[in-house]
Structures are given as C-alpha cells and as structure tokens.
C-alpha cells in the first residue's frame, strides 16, 4: 500500500516499557521530499518514536508504513530505504573517513565503483580531502557530525532520520549542516529531524511538537505561530510544552 504522497504514515503508534508509556498513540504523515521537524522537550519520547519508525524498536501497538513498508512486519525492508544518524556519534572511531563511508555504502548495496566516486565527491564537498585517511575519532565534533550525515545519505535513501544532529556544535557548523540537509531535500530525500534548537525549527517545512509521549501541535512553522499567536517558534514551544510533566 505504497502511497505516492506520504513516505511515512503511521496510526496510533504506542510504545510501553512496563508501566511507562514512552510514546502514546502517535499518528503522523510525512510527505515525500519534506523536511519534517520533530520537536519535543527532553524525555517527550522523540527518540523512541524515531526508533520505531526506523525498525529499531517494535511498537507495542499501532500500525503504519515507512518508505512503503509495514512498520510491524517489514522492518528489514524499511532499513534498506532509510538512513539514520543517531544522537550519539556512531561511526567506527578507529576506521578512517573513507573506510567508514565505504563500509556503510557497501552495506547498503552500492556498487564499488559508485562508492569510490561518491566517497571522493563527498570528501571534497565536506572539505575533508586532507583527512580522508585519518581515523574519524581524531576529527573535531562538527566534522564528525557532518561525516555521520554523509554516511547516512551516501546511498540516497528515501528517508533520512536525524536524531539531534546538531547537538553541541557551534552556530557556523550548524549552518553548514542545514545546508547539507537542504541539499539532500533538493535531491528528493525526505528528512525527519529532531532538534532542541527552535531557530532550526523555522527551517523545516512542517513541525510537530511532542509533549509527554503525545503530539500536541503539528503544522508549518508559520501556521503554528498563527495558531498560538506567537512571534517565534520559541514562544510556540513554550506555550505547548508548559504543562509537560516528564521534563
């Protein structure tokens, strides 16, 4: 049941850990090519929700499709069509820039000749030509983040999931990072991004705000500001999240 319009379409997704309901009745549609901002306070359930969408976590209940595959029954098919960048830097620190890119691109089934060409291109675009044979653990954090993004997108997946990709990096690097996100979007990839930076939310096509495991608001940044009579996304977030109990 692949729809041409929505690349993510889930209904009533719930994840419980014992008595604790991390994600409560999540329903969501994300359109192809969209940059979707997935906002929420700490502990609101963003990462858990994203892990369910990526097939890393089995939903307790609910249904839906990601990249046209069933979220409950076909997680391995979903994994072939997505890229994922976790909150924690998770490339192999002892492998070089090029070895990491080759490893992930090979796993996603890219032909060897394409890998070499695209890895070289990517190193050049990242300005990492000089360090491509250095172990990645020696790179500065901003470089690591952008490299992790490249590793997650080299195979041009349908959807890229980014879990707080710009945590802890300086504004200039964040800006470069968002340029990369826009470029990926213009190449037809859909981007699903969690973030704590409300200025970043303004760059997204649409934004949802999660509070205590539930989505409380979902619209374009402009729409949200109008709805909550706020001047900035920052204000919107504070209004929506003010009664959060889990922070």
């Amino acid at each position: 049941m692949k729809t041409s319009e929505n690349v993510i379409s889930v209904r009533h997704l719930t994840k419980r850990f014992g008595d604790f309901t991390a994600v409560d009745d999540l329903s969501l549609d994300v359109r192809k090519g969209e940059i979707f901002g997935f906002l929420g306070a700490n502990g609101a359930g963003k990462t858990t929700a994203m892990r369910m969408l990526c097939g890393l976590s089995r939903p307790t209940s609910g249904s839906g499709t990601v990249a046209g595959f069933d979220i409950v029954r076909q997680p391995e098919d979903i994994k072939r069509h997505i890229g994922y960048m976790s909150q924690k830097f998770s490339l192999y620190g002892q492998l070089t820039v090029r070895e990491n890119l080759t490893l992930f691109a090979t796993i996603y089934g890219m032909p060897a000749s394409d890998i070499r060409r695209k890895a070289d291109e990517a190193c050049r675009a990242l300005g990492m030509d000089g360090v491509r044979d250095r172990p990645v653990r020696d790179l500065p954090l901003g470089w690591k983040q952008r490299l992790a993004f490249t590793a997650a997108t080299l195979h041009t997946p349908d959807i890229v999931f980014l879990d707080e990709p710009t945590g802890g990096v300086d504004p200039a690097t964040r800006r470069k990072f968002w340029e990369m996100i826009y470029r990926a979007s213009s190449e037809g990839m859909t981007l699903f991004v969690t973030t704590h930076y409300l200025d970043e939310a303004e760059y997204c096509h649409r934004v949802s705000i999660m509070v205590d495991g539930r989505i409380r608001a979902l619209d374009s940044p402009a729409g949200l500001k109008q709805q909550f009579r706020a001047a900035t996304m920052d204000e919107v977030f504070r209004i929506v999240a003010q009664d959060a109990r889990r922070t």
Partner: protein
C-alpha cells in the same frame, strides 16, 4: 546470504583488531606466557619422597629392599625404625611421607612359598605426594623382589607379581599431561572473552545501533563476529604447539589435522557462547562477570586439573554438558596416544553439536529490534 556485506564486515573486524593497541599483542603474548610459565609452576610430579622403614625382619632380603629403595631416583629412606610408632613420628615431623613395614619372618615365609605381606602406609595430608610416593615405593619393592627371585631361581607368589605400568606417558611426566590442556585454557579465555568484549563495546560505543538500522542481516553480523575468532583460535593453537615442541619437546603423537579440527569446533563453541552472553549484556562488566562464571565451571569441571573419573557420580554426569571436556579428551588422546578421528568420533560429534547449538543461540539471541 549477504556475501558482499559479510566480506566488508570481516574486513572491518580485521582492521579494527589490528588497530587495537592491545589485542594483537594479547593474541601472541598470552599463549607464550601461559605455555612457558604454567608448565614450570603447575608441576605435580613428586620428588624426594621420604620413606621411614620399620624393619622387623632384619634379613638379607629386607636390607636389600631398603637399600634399593634408597638408591631409586625419587625415594629417600630417611629413617630406619624399630617400631611403627617411631616411624609415625617421622611422618608427623615431616621428614617422611611413606612408612614401609617389613614383618618379622618375611624372608623365611617368602622362601618357604607363602605370601607374606609388606605394608606401605602413606601420609594423606599431602595426598598427591602420599599416593604417588606409595606407588613409587611399591614399584621399587617389586623390582627388587623380581630381581631377587630371578637370581634365586624361585618363583614369586602370584600376588607379588602385580605391577603398575603407566602407558602413553611412561614417565608420568605431568607436563605432558598439562601442555595439551593448557591450549584448551587459552582457547577458553581468548575465544570466549574477546568476542564478548568486542560485541559489548560496540554496544557501549553505539556503533551496534548504526549496524542494526542498516540491512545487515543478523546472521551475517553474528558470523562477522564469529569468523575472526576461528582464525585467532587456530593461531593460538599453532603458537601453543610450537612452544610445546620447541620448549618441551612434546609433539602430538597423532596427526595435527585432528588437533586443528577440534580447535575449530571448540573456538566456535566458545565464541558462540561469548556472543550469546554479549547479546544479553548491556555493559562490559556484566558480560565479563557472566563469562567468568562459565569459565570457572569450564576449567574446574572440564577435567583439566582434576580427573573426571575421580569426581562424584552426579558430577561426572554433569561434565557431559561441559564442552571443554570433549576438547581436553581429544587433545590428550591425540597428543599422548596418537588417537585419530575413528577413536574419538563421539567427542568430535559432541563438540560439533555444541558448536552448532551455541552459534544458533548466538544468532537467535541477537536482536536488531527491541
């Protein structure tokens, strides 16, 4: 089968292993250390057994028995006493381990065709020394008696001709017994711990999640964790055999292919166990602790230090569930007896079954999705 993915994952494992500051050294240094040091210190051979003699016979033969005993390599007659109590005091003081009593009229009775008894008692406090000492003493007595009867042209009574013969390890050299078993210890440690540590540190660093979110199949991923330890296991066994040959002059009496075959199966058993434990642990400490519990049981109940035959019946039954038991049996039989697969097929079959079981458990307990 994802052969291309498996290949790149193996390449990744190999690269990471070679770049690790510790592991390549550990793989070479540990076998060397264990093989060079342990056989020297864990030597259970008995030397300098003290014998206190109570000679009530005072005959030519009794004096000859005592003199021959004193002259033999590992026995020293430390006291000749008049009473058993006096001999016991020597034991208590620690200068004797075995008491030999020659009854009065022993020579007369033996010449007269009767079967008089010599009495050997051993100090049970140091059990190994006592038991082996008594065995050495009885061997010495038998030799003297046999020689004496040949000179005299008389036949010894039936009971006196029984003898102990140590087959396959004629010198009862403890080292020959230990060295094959030490290689088992090495494989238990290296191929059990390293895969567990490897996998759990991927969990701790988060790279395992980066793998779980890709299309890498769980069998492929687990294989990429098992195969490198195959190679390492073979390397360790090779180093072990080289040290055994160059340092101790011990070469397998059987074909080394049988040793390698057993080693391959056993490394699969151990690395399968290591991966299974890692799958269920979320921290390095957890996995180390659980692995340790297994390793202690494996070492103490696998027949490595204590013979399985001397365990209580229920414990002997339990040892069938302990995979190193089969590997130790194979190693000792191939090394000392020159046994082959025809003699040991049951042990090989048991090892293969365990290898299959543990690898299946490793693959089944690996979760790509929580």
């Amino acid at each position: 089968m994802q052969t291309r993915i498996l290949r790149i994952l193996l390449k990744k494992e190999l690269t990471l292993m070679l770049r690790n500051p510790l592991i390549p050294r550990l793989i070479v240094a540990m076998p060397l250390l264990v093989m060079l040091v342990i056989p020297l210190v864990a030597d259970l051979d008995v030397k300098d057994v003290g014998v206190a003699v109570v000679d009530r016979d005072h005959s030519l033969l009794s004096r000859r028995l005592v003199a021959d005993m004193d002259a033999s390599a590992s026995l020293t007659v430390t006291a000749v006493c008049d009473t058993y109590d006096e001999a016991l005091r020597h034991i208590e003081r620690g200068d004797a381990d075995v008491v030999l009593t020659i009854p009065s009229g022993y020579f007369r009775d033996l010449s007269g065709g009767k079967s008089p008894h010599l009495d050997l008692s051993a100090n049970g406090v140091n059990a190994t020394k006592g038991i082996l000492g008594a065995q050495y003493a009885s061997r010495s007595l038998l030799q003297t008696l046999t020689r004496w009867s040949a000179e005299e042209g008389t036949a010894l009574p039936e009971a006196a001709t029984a003898s102990v013969l140590n087959r396959y390890n004629p010198t009862l050299n403890f080292r020959n017994y230990m060295i094959p078993a030490l290689m088992v210890v090495l494989l238990i440690l290296i191929c059990g711990f390293l895969p567990a540590l490897n996998l759990v540190s991927e969990k701790e660093s988060g790279t395992i999640e980066a793998m779980n979110v890709t299309p890498v199949g769980r069998f492929t991923f687990v294989l990429s964790k098992l195969i490198p330890f195959w190679a390492i296991g073979l390397l360790v066994v090779t180093v072990g055999m080289l040290v055994g040959w160059l340092v101790y002059g011990l070469v397998p009496a059987g074909h080394i292919a049988y040793i390698y075959l057993a080693a391959i199966l056993f490394t699969l058993v151990m690395s399968g166990l290591g991966v299974s434990i890692a799958n269920r642990s979320s921290t390095l400490l957890q996995s180390i602790f659980v692995m340790f519990a297994f390793i202690v049981i494996f070492q103490l109940m696998g027949g490595l230090f204590t013979p399985i035959a001397s365990m209580p019946r229920w414990a002997q039954v339990l040892t069938y569930a302990i995979p190193p038991r089969y590997f130790i049996e194979i190693m000792r039989a191939v090394y000392l007896k020159g046994a082959g697969i025809a003699d040991l097929w049951q042990q090989y079959a048991a090892l293969a079954a365990f290898a299959l079981l543990f690898c299946l458990v490793a693959a089944k307990t690996y979760r790509k999705r929580e």
